[in-house]
């Protein structure tokens, strides 16, 4: 085991993947709790598809993938939030509209420029090899911003998540905090998408939160547990990916599925014990 780890970290790209992955997993799981409880999980999914479209456009234009996709995804996040709040096209339908639309644009743009099949694959399913040093620096910076903002606004995020109407009535600017949550989600998705893949990144947001909610009974423990579960699953996933040459993103998600199943079983057993 130690040997595998030592070997893994001797490759710079692997060390980068572990570092960025840990930060992304941390951010995604923290935000995930609020997104899942607010019934916003699908927004994450929509955004990742938009991110795919943006990456495709960036690749064709030969521009920096992160610098192009960040503003596009952030703008879409605000748009999706507005759509799901007050519009004639309601939440889930609006999200499918935007996500499939962006996916189609992405595929179209890629097909118009030839010879990018491996890249498409990388965008959709992620690749730890795709992170350049500048990507890594940007990712670390963004992740730290997300974590700091989350901690700073923790109490307000809780209030807005638990009861928007009450928060609004007692003078909290709900709109701003919903926008902050959307902004942070957009950042996490852009950063995580390169490694985990556009199709799988939402699982990092949804799984740890749901897993942790099986057992935890306080918001703070749900949040902390979610972060721990997420990071551990990422590490195990990356080790499996390295050892058996499986795709990193998929390996991490499989670990999350296993964690979810284990927690669900423990929950059922606990319920039964309490009943008896």
């Amino acid at each position: 085991m130690i040997n595998i780890l030592r070997e893994m970290f001797s490759y710079p790209f692997m060390a980068r993947a572990v570092l960025v992955g840990t930060l992304v997993a941390l951010c995604a799981s923290l935000l995930g709790v609020s997104l899942v409880l607010k019934r916003y999980a699908m927004i994450g999914d929509g955004l990742s598809h938009v991110g795919f479209g943006a990456l495709a456009v960036a690749a064709v234009l030969n521009a920096s993938p992160m610098l192009v996709s960040i503003p596009i995804v952030v703008i879409s996040a605000f748009l999706l939030l507005r759509l799901s709040e007050n519009s004639k096209i309601k939440g889930d339908a609006a999200i499918s509209l935007i996500s499939t639309g962006a996916l189609a644009i992405g595929v179209m743009v890629i097909s118009m420029s030839s010879g990018m099949n491996t890249d498409v694959n990388n965008y959709l399913f992620g690749s730890i090899l795709s992170m350049s040093q500048s990507d890594v620096n940007l990712s670390i910076g963004l992740s730290i911003v997300v974590i700091l903002l989350f901690i700073l606004f923790y109490n307000r995020i809780f209030a807005v998540t638990f009861d928007e109407t009450f928060a609004k009535a007692t003078g909290t600017n709900v709109q701003i905090f919903n926008m902050i949550i959307a902004l942070l989600t957009a950042l996490v998705i852009v950063v995580g998408m390169r490694m985990i893949g556009a199709l799988l990144i939402t699982s990092l947001i949804v799984f740890p939160a749901l897993t942790s909610m099986r057992l935890a009974k306080r918001f703070i423990t749900v949040t902390v547990n979610s972060a721990i579960i997420s990071v551990i699953c990422l590490w195990i996933g990356l080790i499996i990916s390295y050892k058996y040459s499986t795709p990193a993103g998929a390996s991490i998600v499989i670990c999350n599925i296993v964690a979810f199943i284990i927690y669900s079983i423990i929950e059922k057993i606990k319920e039964r014990v309490i009943k008896e």
Partner: protein, 234 residues
């Protein structure tokens, strides 16, 4: 001392007036019940008082000592809360948010306030329990404690007894009565339960898309609209 004064107030949705020409005032220590049939503008008026909805016409004047964000509120429960993983203490404490200003975290002062209010409502023993595991009545007590954290003067309640069984409902009304008489908190409540309303309220506001009656409970019982409405329930 008048806490809230409403003058010629009207609200509309998409250009259609829901409720209009509302004139009443809430004095410190009052227990005001807003009654009327479904869809006659009660909840809209409540939203207006809480600044969740802008009046179309007229104005709501708050007493200088009452900041707009210091009206405690007991909303109807949402679906999100049904399976929300949070401890009772966390929920009650979140009522103190309007005291924080620009501070990011709660201090000892807010935590003491939350504990005090849990004591008042007799939910101290539930402090570490999960909100989603509580009974309907217990949940309302928790949300009431949260509302008390947000205010020193007045609580607005939107059908607090909805979905509760009769015994728990009576306990809840007793508790609200207690908050009013013992701690001097002004109560503004939307209610369907006309019997309880008459038993506890000091003032009645009867709406039917406009104001049919505003005055003390005794006057209401003498009035024609009051006799009709109360009679219909017996």
């Amino acid at each position: 001392m008048s806490l809230i004064t409403c003058k010629n107030l009207s609200f509309e949705y998409d250009g259609i007036a829901v409720v209009k020409d509302i004139n009443f005032d809430v004095t410190d220590g009052d227990y005001l019940c807003i009654v009327g049939e479904n869809g006659t503008g009660k909840s809209t008026l409540i939203k207006g008082l809480l600044r969740l909805k802008k009046p179309f016409q007229g104005e709501i004047i708050l007493n200088q000592e009452l900041a707009a964000n210091q009206i405690g509120y007991l909303p109807q429960q949402t679906i999100i809360q049904a399976d929300f993983p949070a401890s009772v203490f966390e929920v009650v404490l979140s009522g103190c948010l309007n005291n924080l200003g620009f501070k990011p975290f709660y201090t000892g002062k807010e935590k003491r306030l939350a504990k005090e209010n849990m004591q008042k409502l007799g939910i101290n023993h539930l402090k570490n329990d999960c909100y989603r595991d509580l009974s309907g009545g217990q949940k309302q007590r928790v949300l009431l404690a949260r509302a008390l954290c947000a205010t020193k003067k007045i609580i607005v309640l939107d059908e607090p007894a909805a979905g509760l069984d009769p015994i728990v409902t009576n306990e809840l009304y007793e508790l609200i009565h207690n908050i009013n008489s013992k701690y001097g908190i002004t109560i503004v409540m939307v209610s369907h339960d006309i019997k309880a309303t008459l038993r506890y309220a000091s003032h009645i506001l009867h709406l039917h898309n406009t104001q049919l009656f505003f005055g003390s409970t005794e006057e209401y019982l003498q009035s024609e609209v009051g006799r009709k409405f109360v009679g219909g329930y017996e």
